[in-house]
Amino acid sequence: MSAVIATRALVKRFGRLRAVDGIDLDVRAGDVYGFLGANGSGKTTTVRMLLGLVLPTSGEVELLGERMPRAGRRVLPRVGALIESPAHYGHLSGAENLKLLDAAGPGGSWRTRGRRVAEVLEQVGLGGVGRRPVTAYSLGMRQRLGLAGALLRRPDLLVLDEPTNGLDPQGIAEIRELLLELHRGGTTVFLSSHLLAEVEQLCSRVGVLDRGRLVLQDDLATLTAPTGATVVRTPEPDRVRALLDARVIAVDGDRLVVRGPDPAAVNALLVGAGIPVTALALDRPSLEEVVLAAAATSADRVEAVR
């Protein structure tokens, strides 16, 4: 599989602060990549380096197989970006903003411009917004317009820094649907966020940034793979304890975690002993647990180094 985003030992220092500290991103074609990290962990700085806005202190960035920022003129027209927050010329309408942006760089023919602008506005749900100036837009409308700008040239790669900022739950769900649809159409999506739920619902791969270091990078399915235990709910936890004894890993009220990768086998055992079972499930860590575990250990390590 070809790498769409690859960085090698990427470092950015702001004075004494290492905002990004030697990260090796690996985003492949067809991924929906969730780039997670707490506030100030360096997500935006990384995104800006990917796009050639911030120049790395050291290390390399490769975007769509070419070195950035050198190949920016060839590569960036194929990349759609939303960086931190949308920004527009307030006295102009949304459509005019998009037309100006399209005309400002290579790879957008003026003949198709009007049609493409109308299409993306429709796509992000701003089709009927008319000639109102952007000053009169709500926060959510501006966010949608920003996304429309990113989609304007049908990019192969979308780099989105917190794209659902300021959107209401319906808006978030709508954007999620839109991103999944684009992904089905072959677009690779790189999504930075600190909303774990958003990433869990959307992403196939996850990278976790903690104080500038990439502490985790893996498929979501691998990270949240079954732990080899089964979760059992029963009104009679004591009898389960008595029956299975050492196989019980944890008890929390009527919820027990029992060693054994096959819920059916665990169930047969319990039912055979006449213990009622109200719920049964494979034990999987949530993304939150995975992220907190990874970020916590690395936080200690950074502290120790200082």
Partner: protein, 270 residues
């Protein structure tokens, strides 16, 4: 890209408001002159103003002389200071560069747009001055006009020399624009960039009046601004004019190179 920048600049209400304000003062002065008939005596007040009561065709020059010390530089510094820093403050700079507009291209396009504004401002001030001049004052279409040196100039000569004066003032303003554009690449605050450029001009004007600063006086950016008056001597006194052009050329060249060097290597964190 250049067309995009021109469209942005001239679709902006503020650009036209600036031009309108720029013309308000010369028009007001003209009206006051007509109503009171009290022209400053020759050698006092802004150049050419004493002559306009007898010849309205000179009013474009008087208008330029009126706005030159303060209004015109402020207008140019506002527009040029806004060029890059304004985009940075609005956040649109990062989207332009990620589009990618190209840093050098963007800077060149901004420069051309600022240039267009300088030309527009100077030409509009002269044109409005002309209209105001010939409608409010006596025009002398045929008879010779007296040059600053006392000889007479034909109206053809006046027209040609006025055009040269407009060009010269334009070049002087280009120096202001270069300062403001350079500061505009340094900061994310358009106000800061504009103020920086104006501070340079105020400092330069102040030093010019100071005897102790006479060793550096020939290198002050505002030193030769008023040399366009020399175009109306007979014969034209070229010495200060050419020095003025050369000085502005050096300032513009150095500052634009510095702006380019800074802008193409800078982190865009706005």
């Amino acid at each position: 890209m250049i067309l995009v920048e021109l469209r942005k600049l001239f679709r902006r209400p503020r650009t036209w408001a600036t031009v309108a304000v720029l013309n308000a003062l010369p028009v007001l002065v003209a009206v006051l002159l007509v109503l009171t008939d009290l022209a400053p005596r020759p050698g006092e007040g802004p150049p050419f103003l004493s002559a306009v009561l007898s010849n309205g065709a000179l009013y474009p020059l008087a208008a330029l002389a009126i706005v030159l010390p303060l209004f015109l530089p402020i207008a140019v510094a506002v527009v040029a200071g806004d060029a890059v820093a304004g985009e940075a403050q609005a956040g649109t700079l990062r989207y332009l560069l990620a589009r990618p507009a190209g840093r050098t291209r963007l800077l060149v396009a901004k420069l051309v747009a600022v240039l267009a504004f300088v030309l527009l401002a100077v030409v509009v001030v002269a044109a409005v001055g002309y209209v105001v001049g010939i409608s409010l004052f006596d025009a002398q279409p045929v008879a010779g006009t007296t040059s600053v040196s006392g000889t007479s100039l034909s109206s053809g000569e006046i027209a040609g020399r006025t055009a040269m004066a407009i060009g010269y003032v334009g070049v002087s303003m280009l120096g202001v624009a270069a300062f403001a554009l350079f500061f505009s690449t340094l900061t994310d605050s358009p106000l800061g960039a504009t103020m920086g450029a104006l501070a340079v001009l105020v400092a330069s004007s102040l030093l010019f009046t100071l005897d102790a600063a006479s060793p550096i006086a020939p290198y002050l950016p505002t030193r030769y601004w008023l040399a366009f008056v020399d175009l109306f001597r007979d014969p034209i006194l070229w010495r200060d004019l050419t020095r003025g052009l050369a000085l502005q050329g050096v300032y513009v060249g150095v500052l634009l190179a510095a702006a380019w060097a800074n802008f193409t290597t800078k982190d865009i964190t706005s």
